[in-house]
Subunit: 238 residues, 2 copies
Amino acid sequence: MPHLAFPNSCDGFRCETHCSVRSLAICGQLNESEHQEFERLAQHVRFGPKEALFSEDEMVDSVYSLTEGIARLYKLLPDGRRQIIGFALPGDFLGMAPSNRYSFSADAIGPLTVCKFFRGPFMRFIENRPQMLMRMNEFATRELGLAQDQMLLLGRRSAEEKVAAFLVGWRERLARLEGMTKTVTLPMGRQDIADFLGLTIETVSRTFTKLEREKLIVIVPDGVRVLDSKRFDALAAA
Amino acid sequence: MPHLAFPNSCDGFRCETHCSVRSLAICGQLNESEHQEFERLAQHVRFGPKEALFSEDEMVDSVYSLTEGIARLYKLLPDGRRQIIGFALPGDFLGMAPSNRYSFSADAIGPLTVCKFFRGPFMRFIENRPQMLMRMNEFATRELGLAQDQMLLLGRRSAEEKVAAFLVGWRERLARLEGMTKTVTLPMGRQDIADFLGLTIETVSRTFTKLEREKLIVIVPDGVRVLDSKRFDALAAA
DNA sequence: CGCCTGGTTGACTAATGTCAAATTGGGTGG
DNA sequence: CCACCCAATTTGACATTAGTCAACCAGGCG
């Protein structure tokens, strides 16, 4: 079952105390009384595998702070071609859009829980709290930086470089949550990786195999083990 | 000389009154007294063609609001491959980065002028002004939306679709400034377009020629004239 | 007048995509 | 516990798109 193992800390409607990613999340700098007020706006909602949080072009009614699990964020072309624009991890904030409609779709990869906020109350909460607005800015700027890295990857890297850079980047993001490990868990399937890297599933599969033949990685269930970090980082940076 | 023609409104050190893109810029919602205070933080700086505003990995000391001209924003791989991540137009805001270093390079395409702010004073100005912070958020969210569209383009569109989508998108951005026109001016060269679309200059050139043969556009000096908007938009959306 | 830069065109190559078949591994029911 | 099924992945053979390398062309400027 591919999902990150986090303690299931939020069973009920309100969970003021044990959110395991609070310090990483949008609400991470609120003091206790502010946080209680903020919590009153939140609904803790669970989603099952493949369930949609929201879809592109729907009216934006809510924003989300991811607390457990992983989401796939993507855009579709009319003929069905899909581009995954990112994977959201616990602590990530979703749902801000340049218009009144979501600019992409989001669905759960495995089981997932979020703090859901209706847009109106959320906006009213933040609009006179500069600290919160600064934090929103940090989040947006970080996302934008990731998006720019991804443009470089999509436009200018070879298939092998794409896969290597993806694994390195994914490992770093997991390290923020779980600490650095030799084994990189990959909760998403090969098709998701392909749609993230602008490749076909066959090319991704062949590239994994090639990296394994070259003794850079070992493919294990639900992930890969990185053998030669140095050579690997070099390939990813290249 | 490829550049957008805007009245040259800012000759001296301070220009409180005639910035032609003020309503579109980051400072567009400040009242007069706030705007005067804000202006005291600004330096109006000019750059010539190809001059660098800042480069990737330099320490961030300033942020910029573009007032005239066009800038090229890009990232490089160690071997020199380049990805243009965007073109900045008057009103655009540059220089926010997820770390203390710029995450991309920016240089002037033609002659260009900016309002330059040192980071510290700028941050102190905005940090207790929710309206300004909201505006920063809007800007960041809009940029993020454009970046996501570009990821879809880079990962999943064919060369012909890339070029068509680029022309349509560029025309829309110019329309915000100049109003909608049949002739789309292209101040950037073919190599810039190629590096923006993840193609080679030869492929871009061939694709322009192909679109002209198909009577969708006419190539004119410094731009193209769109003949069949409907068929063209369809190709770009595809 | 002719050079220089940027753009275009042509012939060929290489990387990645396409289509189809084979393999793996986990989960389920007997 | 085992056999089977299904979905995901891998592999192979071949097609296609875009890249590479090289030559050519056109306009602007000394």
